[in-house]
Each structure stands twice: as C-alpha cells, then as structure tokens.
C-alpha cells in the first residue's frame, strides 16, 4: 500500500527548508563578535597587566570559559546557541558549555558517578581526537625534521 519513494518525496516536500544562509550568516556574525571580543580582552590583559601575548592568552580563555559556563548555568546559553549555531559552538565557549551542561545534568547522581563520570561525555571526543591528532601531526613533524 505505502510506497517508500512516495513517503520520502512527501517528507522532502513537507519538511521545512533548513535556513542554511541564515545559519551561515548568524554563525559568521556571532563567531566574528566572539573573535573580536577575544582580541579586546587579550589586549586589555596585555595593557593592564603588562603581559606578553602568550601570557595573556590563558586569562583570556578563562574569561570566555567562565562566561559560557555561567550563561549555561543561568539557562541562557542554549537559547543563544539556537540562534548563533556554530558561532558559539566552535569557539571555546562551545567546549565550556558541553562540560557545564553535562555536569549540571548529572549533578543529581552525585559527585563521583554523576558529575565526575559524565562531565566529559560530550567533550570527551574533542579531547580524544585532539590528542590523537596532536600525536599524529607531532610524529609527522618529527619524521620530516629528521
């Protein structure tokens, strides 16, 4: 009775079109704003505390990690992310949000089996493949340098 091709056609026709251009622009604008804010905070630290770029990078990242974590806790981050998409997801704010949201979600299960075990549930893959990539690229670089 039902034909899979007909159903697929119908789904394609009926599903709301993904707002790709809008998502692209929003991600560009949000990502750009965060980049700009990052630069301002970095220069602020450099000037105020007389630090080098390298010295000021750590505190700058901390500002963004803390802000994203607080916004997550206040229930604001996920609403912003619905609009900003990759603009908030790709910068370190996304990493912070994945840790905080997992920690909040598992808080009721206790410190060890709850927060401790689950905090890296989503961020774990970033760490795993970050380390694997660093290892592989590091090895290649070493081999080239030989």
């Amino acid at each position: 009775m039902m034909d899979i091709n007909q159903i697929e056609q119908s789904i394609q026709k009926r599903a709301p079109k993904k707002a790709k251009l809008k998502n692209l622009i929003m991600a560009f604008v949000w990502g750009g704003c965060i980049g700009l804010a990052g630069q301002l905070v970095l220069e602020g630290f450099m000037n105020a505390l007389n630090l080098s770029v390298q010295q000021a990078t750590g505190p700058t990242l901390m500002v963004f990690i803390t802000t994203a974590a607080l916004l997550t806790g206040f229930g604001i981050y996920d609403r912003l992310a619905q609009h900003a998409g990759a603009g908030l997801f790709i910068p370190i704010t996304g990493f912070s949000n994945s840790l905080t949201s997992c920690a909040l979600e598992s808080k009721s299960e206790g410190l060890i089996y709850g927060i401790g075990s689950n905090m890296f549930k989503l961020a774990g893959s970033v760490l795993t493949y970050g380390i694997v990539t660093a290892y592989v690229l590091g090895t290649i670089r070493m081999l080239i340098g030989l």
């Binding site: 009775m1 039902m2 034909d3 899979i4 007909q6 159903i7 119908s10 789904i11 026709k13 009926r14 599903a15 709301p16 993904k18 998502n23 997550t72 806790g73 229930g75 981050y77 996920d78 912003l80 992310a81 619905q82 998409g85 990759a86 908030l88 997801f89 996304g94 949000n97 994945s98 905080t100 949201s101 997992c102 909040l104 979600e105 009721s108 989503l122």
Partner: protein, 331 residues
C-alpha cells in the same frame, strides 16, 4: 489481529497535570493541575515527572469520587528507562500494576488494555496513565538540557505532563468503543530530529486497518486525532491518505498541535511525548465529547520506538500506533 470491540466500557473519570509550557498552551485552562515551574517544586526533573503523575491520578480519583484502592488494576507507561516514573510511583499504591512501553503511543495502548480487562470481567475499575517530562526525555533521548545545540525546525518538543483515565462498566457520557493494536512499521528512517515523519506511516497503517476492520471511514468520525506527529508528520500523513485517494474530510488533527500554540511558543514542529496524546485526549477531546460538540472520535497515539544505542549504531527508527475510539452516549 481483529479490532477489539468493547461491550461495556466507559470513562469513569480522568485527570491531567501539566508544566508551565502546557499551562500557557492551548489546553492550560482544562488541566486539573498546572505548575509554573518545570521542577514542580521537586529537587530533580525525574521527581517532578512523578509529581505530575501523582497530581493527575489524584485529580482522576477526586473527579470520580474514588480512592486509590477502588481501582483494581493500573496500567501505566512513561519514557524513562525501566519505566522509572510509573514504577516508583506505583510503590505507594498497593494494587496490581501492569507497566507497558510503547513510547509515545502508550496512552491508547494502556486504555485498550484497561478496556479488555474490564470487558473480560477481570477488573471492575482500571486506570490507564502516562507521563512525560521535557527535561527527562531530553536527557534520555537527546542531549543535556542546557547543551547549546541548534535544533532543526522538524524536531518536536516533549510535553511535560501526565494524564490518567479510569475506566469502568458503570455507564457514563463517554464510552470506549473499540481499539486496534498497531504493527511495528519501519521504513528505514534514521533522522531522530524528524520523528513525526517516521511515525506517519505507522499512524496511516493503524488508521487504515481500523477503518477496514470496522468498515468505517473518516466520515464516520467527527475527528481522527493522531498522537504526536506534529506539523511535519501530520502533513506527511495527509499526503499518504491523498496518495491512496482517501478523503480526510478535514477531520484529521494531531495532539502535538492541540497542546501548544505554535505561533507563540518555541516548540518547533509541535508537541510530542506520552503526555501529548494523553493531554490532547483528556483536556481537549473529553470535554468536547461531554459538551456534545463531538460525538465520535478516533485517537491514534503514535510512538517512535527508537533505542538511543541502536540509533547510534546506525539502525533505523521503528514506529507504532495504537488507536481507540470514544463515543458520546446519552446517560
């Protein structure tokens, strides 16, 4: 399997509870209890869901002038692993309990089981209940609640609420007429962000089977209401009927669009979850039947039976739909 024709099964009483979004939604004024806080005054979301269930059952008992012990058997379901809400709630009620899992199609399945028990004489009164909570379902099937992931428009919003219906042989204005138990239908869809479309073929299959078994069509019902296909799934179901040359006669609707106001509430494609079809039935259809606005209604609750683990393993989403028919009788 044949469509079950009930001889003497009536809706004795019912109760519904909801959260803040449901209170602001289209059925807010018809809920027995509505909370302004997603925690419902409890410590965890899981306890909040249990609170909603307890409020719905208390309302059902109060509306029917009953005590918990007057119900011979409870048939219940929810979306948490191991039916956490139903089982942990039922430990406070020393009566027989039958837990069923049918994802979001559980409300009609539980009602059908209650009807069979009563008609067969195994129970004088039986209660069908379901619950779901947006936050517990997100956690169970999707991401942590505060995770900043961009959701597509095809996704649905799990209803925070609970509904309970008490059935008995005692005559009342609403009669449970018949029930058709659905088949698991799987066309291989894998998009967990568009479960309405995946469930549409299951709803189509059950509704068509019911029509065939009972020799009826859309014209024989004032309304045919699906459980939680929501905006996208419902239009796919319209297409399925159209492709078969069946006239839906403007009688096809969906509970996912009845519970929320899609224009004002951020619920994407509409409501979903066990409580979606339950609230739609209890807070919208039952009052309409009592007022005499509608006389005969077919409710086909729909369920996406996906397992998060199997979906990660690239398996598809099996779906099911069970339907029941309610009818107005003059008392």
């Amino acid at each position: 399997m044949k469509t079950i024709q009930f001889k003497n099964v009536y809706v004795h009483s019912y109760g519904a509870a909801g959260g803040p979004m449901e209170k602001q939604g289209l059925l807010g004024s018809h809920l027995d209890v509505a909370f302004d806080d997603v925690y419902c005054g409890e410590k965890t979301y899981e306890m909040a869901e249990r609170k909603l269930l307890s409020c719905a059952i208390e309302a059902m008992l109060k509306n029917g002038d009953l005590k918990a012990e007057d119900i011979d058997c409870y048939v219940g379901s929810d979306l948490i692993n191991q039916l956490g809400t139903a089982h942990y709630f039922m430990k406070h009620i020393a009566q027989s309990f039958l837990g069923v899992y049918a994802a979001c199609s559980a409300s009609t399945l539980a009602s059908a089981i209650c009807g069979m028990m009563i008609d067969a004489g195994y129970a004088e009164k039986a209660c069908a209940f379901v619950s779901s909570h947006n936050a517990t379902a997100e956690r169970q099937f999707r991401y942590p609640n505060e995770y900043g992931v961009q959701k597509p428009d095809t996704t649905t919003f799990t209803v925070t609420g609970a509904g309970a219906i008490c059935f008995s042989r005692q005559k009342s204005e609403i009669r449970l007429v018949s029930a058709t138990i659905g088949k698991v239908v799987d066309f291989g869809f894998k998009n967990v962000n568009d479960m309405g479309s995946a469930m549409a073929p299951a709803a189509f299959d059950t509704i068509m089977t019911h029509f065939k078994n009972t020799n009826t069509s859309f014209k024989d019902y004032d309304l045919v209401v699906t459980g939680d296909l929501s905006k996208v799934g419902l239009t796919v179901l319209f297409d399925l009927f159209e492709n078969e040359g069946i006239d839906t006669d403007k009688r096809l609707a969906d509970c996912g669009l009845i519970v929320y106001n899609l224009m004002d509430q951020p619920v994407f494609s509409g409501g979903s979850g066990c409580a979606c079809s339950a609230l739609g039935t209890i807070a919208s259809l039952f009052p309409k039947i009592k007022e005499g606005n509608i006389h005969r209604v077919l409710v086909a609750a729909t369920g996406a039976l996906l397992s998060p683990v199997l979906v990660q393993q690239k398996d598809s989403i099996p779906c099911i739909s069970h339907c029941v028919v309610y009818e107005r009788v003059s008392v």
